[in-house]
Symmetry: C2
DNA sequence: GTGGTGAACATACCGATGGTATGTCGAAGA
DNA sequence: TCTTCGACATACCATCGGTATGTTCACCAC
């Protein structure tokens, strides 16, 4: 059962998404033409529009791929049965590492809110990185580790802080050192929010 | 000296920037055509390309206008001779208010990094909002109000936290309440970082 | 085996859009 | 008055996203 058709269609999809992801990461959404994408995937626009409804849908497919990969790495860091605080700190370190991926930086953090629209981006993020951050904050509040601030807003702000830290790392001349600074600073902030055990 | 030519050219520039700013705010950069901009400004593309080198340059002019207005409001809140801590808190409240402006939200926070490129955006921000945040953090560290964390990274993270808070406000169904939550949360975070007076 | 069917593409084309090249007009100096 | 030049307007071009149509070929009913 080698020459099933669906095998080839799946590889075509993959080729398109891979090509799109690489070009979007390198030149951005607006700076990437469909011609360039299909050329790199060795297909034509007919194939593209057979599998996707348009440029945006292709972008979302690339977005989902990056986010799924990020989730795999992140949940591995967060999951477990240790104390909520320790898992949160591991999550912070893990997310900073995830943000070092140029594809995550450009596609997920920078372009997705503009290309997909903020509302749709927000909705998608619920099931991805932001969902994890939010869950972590919730766990911290429930465990009584931090002051009972509004979860939604606190999670948003932490998410923004993490993203900004990631951007600082990516734009730094010494990413390693900056990454250490970012982790240290965020941990310091979180520690400041930590409530003395009741 | 009414019919000086430069008077009219200045008003033409203003009309173009105003038109662009309104349309960029409403429909975004990619969703706004130059034809729509010049039509609303009651001029032609010839005038546009006489005053600006292209669409990006026009966007940057709009960006600068929004940022300048924001700076005026912000420095009024920050300037003064009170304690560094109080001025910082006033700055936070002021920045949250600034972020309620839809033009600031969409043009400065969302689109500018994508349209201008992150590096150029970062450079421009040095002289605008981010410059103020950074200066505030520096003042806090020098006054011994907060732990001596790396200023650049701390400022970036705070800036990201504020922007994320602003986005949460803009996307909220109850902006007033969310704005209060954001201010409260950020102040709580900053307070957590505050060092006991030596 | 063969004729029909539909998925999986390829090709040709269209309209919109950013950008350019050229033309026009009127005020200011020589 | 003649020239110059800034401040536009007009006409046009190239690119790009998207669509309409054509083509191939595996699969299935008979």
């Amino acid at each position: 059962m080698r020459s099933r058709r669906s095998d080839y269609t799946e590889s075509t999809r993959h080729a398109l998404v891979d090509s799109a992801l690489e070009l979007f990461t390198k030149r951005g959404y607006a700076g990437t033409s469909l011609d360039a994408i299909v050329k790199r995937a060795r297909v034509t626009k007919g194939a593209l529009y057979h599998h996707f409804s348009g440029k945006q849908a292709l972008f979302e497919a690339a977005f989902n791929q990056v986010e799924t990969a990020a989730m795999d790495r992140l949940s591995a860091a967060i999951d477990g049965d240790g104390p909520a605080w320790d898992r949160a700190m591991a999550g912070i370190r893990g997310y900073v590492r995830v943000c070092l991926d140029p594809a995550y930086q450009r596609v997920v953090i920078h372009e997705a809110p503009v290309v997909m629209g903020w509302e749709r981006w927000r909705e998608a993020e619920e099931h991805f990185s932001y969902g994890l951050v939010r869950g972590t904050v919730e766990a911290l509040v429930q465990a009584g580790e931090i002051e009972p601030l509004p979860v939604e807003v606190t999670a948003r702000i932490l998410f923004g802080a993490l993203s900004a830290g990631a951007e600082a790392i990516a734009g730094s001349s010494d990413p390693k050192a900056t990454a250490a600074d970012v982790t240290r600073t965020i941990v310091a902030v979180m520690t400041g929010m930590r409530r003395a055990a009741p």
